[in-house]
Amino acid sequence: MSTEAASSASGANGPSLDSEEREIIEGMRAGDDRAFERLVRAHVGPLRAVALRLLKNDADADDIVQEAFLSAFRNFDSFRADSRLQTWLHRIVVNGALQRLRRAKHRAGQQGDGELVDVSELLPRFAANGHPEHFSQPWVQTIEELATRAETREQVRQMIDKLPDNYRTVLILRDIEELDTSETAELLELTPGTVKVRLHRARQALRNLLERELELTANA
């Protein structure tokens, strides 16, 4: 396909493709091996990071990323030029990782990871009159201060990993991958309402964990 054809295929409302992305798309459509290698090198890092966040395991993440690129190669005809390569590949990887999580959970019957937290125990508690049992205090450190410390970043990632999969996956897709509610619901085969409930509980549980483990209040 010519450059003009690729451009016109993106449509009037499509994304404006940079020249590298356009060349990769043209090369992939022409069956050029170098285009595939450029595709891999340009996207493998972020895709592996997504897979690793979801699967928490290097070998599984590598497997899923490899399968995703093979799927992209085999099904490049289905790539719609009105989306970005990154978005398309991201969805393939997320789909693959979620399928693997489901299979693993099905095989195990339930999660056997004793490190996981009980989300219900981390939600705020209220008296019958609606008043909280614990009055929230302001945090004494800013996000900027916290995020500049490598040790804190690692602690935050470990706390996310302690959430049960049904909460963790929603939090990752909504708050880290920044998918919207309907995309997340579709990928996880849930209703949008369930996504919202799980996201809210995951954030509340994580808020409590962070406050406690990072000693974020003056009374900590």
Binding site: D33, V40, F135, A147, R157, I176, H200, L216
Partner: protein, 117 residues
């Protein structure tokens, strides 16, 4: 008046139709601007009267921001640098060349299989 007294007070406290529990329950809808205007006004009136709920809301927002800040690729890249020499830290590795080569080899096999069909 202490924070606790404030929150429990009948005069300065909350209107009876929205409690701290409801603020907590509808926080996501409030932040996503999904509350209708009367509910939003009630919610914000409660926040004006209840410092603990404001603290909770700010901590909730900060949780979202901290999750993003600690998982962004550039943050991880910075982490890798600052983790050097710290064996207990999880350094962020560059995508292994071995993975790239494995993908390219698998694709060659797939292409060969495709052409022999």
């Amino acid at each position: 008046m202490s924070e606790e007294e404030h929150c429990r007070a009948g005069v300065h406290g909350h209107r009876p139709d929205i409690s701290c529990r409801e603020v907590s329950e509808f926080l996501l809808a409030y932040l996503d601007r999904e509350l209708d205007e009367p509910s939003r006004a009630e919610f914000e009136l409660h926040l004006k009267l209840c410092p603990p709920c404001v603290n909770y809301l700010e901590g909730y927002r900060d949780t979202i921001a901290l999750v993003r800040a600690c998982t962004r690729d550039d943050a991880e890249g910075a982490a890798a640098k600052s983790c050097e020499g710290q064996p207990n830290q999880r350094p962020k590795k560059a995508p292994p060349e071995g993975l790239i080569q494995a993908i390219l080899s698998a694709k060659c096999r797939a292409a060969a299989g495709k052409s022999s069909e």
